[in-house]
């Protein structure tokens, strides 16, 4: 029996972008779950324990930085790699994301294939480490 495909949690409040990434990752053979805000992201992360989280940083309520900090502070989820996504190209955002514990950082616009590449690279690094 082959292992199930890695489960990716895509968090973005803008549905067009979230569904686009989800659709492309699923098309590329990954399993995908979606969350539209920080609250839902935390709930699903604890319930599903995905293999990787794609986290938009500007979210209503609990933002991406705060959600990442909480995930990285919890023993159940701290080993799940987080790829931060942001539309803000100003310097400072990437540093803040890495400080919060994000493992990679991508600036939008980010084509779905570019995200897939980063997801595969990060998964490979983490499988190698753990």
């Amino acid at each position: 029996m082959t292992a199930p495909a890695p489960l990716i949690l895509v968090v973005d409040d803008f549905p067009d972008n979230r569904q686009m990434y989800a659709e492309y990752l699923a098309f590329s053979g990954l399993r995908v779950e979606e969350a539209e805000n920080g609250h839902e992201a935390l709930e699903k992360a604890f319930a599903l324990l995905p293999d990787l989280i794609v986290m938009d940083l500007s979210l209503p309520g609990i933002d991406g930085w705060e959600a990442t900090r909480r995930l990285k502070a919890d023993s159940r989820t701290k080993r799940i790699p987080v790829i931060a996504l942001t539309g803000h190209a100003l310097a400072g955002h990437s540093k803040g994301a890495l400080d919060a514990g994000c493992d990679a950082f991508i600036t939008k616009p980010c084509l779905p294939e570019r995200l897939l590449e980063e997801v595969r690279k990060t998964l490979a690094t983490f499988q190698h480490e753990h």
Binding site: D16, M20, E23, G87, A89, A91, C110, L111, P112, E113
Partner: protein
């Protein structure tokens, strides 16, 4: 006139003489009058100086206030541009992403005309993104939020990179593009990404404004001055003398009229000149209308740390 009279009387009481001294006071009166006038004038002058000083203080204050207002307006403008560029990028992300997915056949194979039409959407979305990125660059530079990353790199390899990146445009242009790099170029310490951005901009401009002929990229160095020069020379439409400096202004082309022939936001050279300045370099132009232009980027071999 003042007159003083006196009698001279003898021992016997006889008047022997009458003396009248006539004293001319004209001069004295005149002096007094002048003095009075002078005093008036001095008072008037003092009053005027006082008023002028007060006016100057008032004007200074106005200047100081308008300076602050201008700075605030400029900061607001930069912030606005940065916000707008973010607002533009979010929907553009979806446009470019779905276009790319359609072209990849995620929703099924496309017919040939569908593919051609989606490719047009794709290239225009990329063009729009480059304009938005230019606006963001200008606002970052103006807000002092454009960090430099200095490293050591080889210029010949960068020239090759730049030409390779612009290759699709070169192929479409039917122009002869050559790169001539000096032998023995020393490595450069600068911001590779920014130098590349400047070179790509100069080269794409040269291609854009050259209907026929050739474009040459010439890289040279001066050992004694510790300088590197990259010149992009074209046989294109050229720039009139009076427009030479205008091409470096924000949102500006030599022909800025609504009926101008060449598109573009007119930000490329403005960004390039600012970037060159950040790298302690210079960007200059020599051109003759109808005979082509040469844009020259001069950089110190080693850029200063910020």
């Amino acid at each position: 006139m003042e007159a003083i009279s006196g009698k001279i009387v003898s021992e016997h009481g006889e008047v022997t003489a009458l003396v009248t001294i006539l004293h001319d006071r004209t001069e004295e009166l005149e002096r007094a009058r002048l003095y009075e006038q002078l005093k008036l004038a001095a008072d008037e002058m003092e009053q005027k100086v006082r008023e002028a000083t007060a006016e100057l203080v008032r004007q200074n204050e106005l200047l100081r206030r308008s300076h602050i207002e201008i700075e605030q307006a400029s900061a607001l403008k930069s912030q606005f541009l940065a916000n707008m560029s973010h607002e533009f990028r979010t929907p553009l992300n979806a446009i470019m992403g779905y276009t790319s997915m359609l072209l990849k056949g995620v929703a099924g194979e496309l017919t040939v005309p569908q593919r051609r039409q989606m490719a047009r959407v794709d290239s225009n979305a990329h063009h729009l993104l480059s304009i938005i990125n230019d606006i963001l660059d200008i606002s970052r530079i103006e807000a002092g939020k454009m960090p430099l990353t200095l490293s050591e790199f080889e210029l010949p390899a960068l020239v090759t990179d730049v030409v390779a990146e612009v290759e699709p445009l070169i192929a479409r242009s039917r122009l002869t593009v050559t790169a001539v790099v000096d032998d023995g170029m020393p490595p450069l310490v600068s911001d590779r990404q920014k130098v590349k951005q400047i070179m790509i901009n100069l080269l794409t401009n040269a291609l854009k404004f050259t209907p026929e002929g050739s474009v040459r990229v010439l890289a040279s160095h001066s050992e004694e001055r510790g300088e590197i020069t990259v010149a992009v020379e074209d046989s294109g439409i050229g720039i009139a003398e009076e427009d030479l400096e205008k091409v470096f202004e924000d949102f500006r082309q030599a022909d800025n009229s609504p009926t101008r022939e060449y598109g573009g936001a007119g930000l490329g050279l403005a960004i390039c000149r600012r970037l060159a300045g950040m790298l302690d370099g210079q960007l200059t132009v020599h051109s003759k209308l109808g005979l082509g232009s040469t844009f020259t980027l001069l950089l110190p071999r080693v850029a200063r740390e910020q």
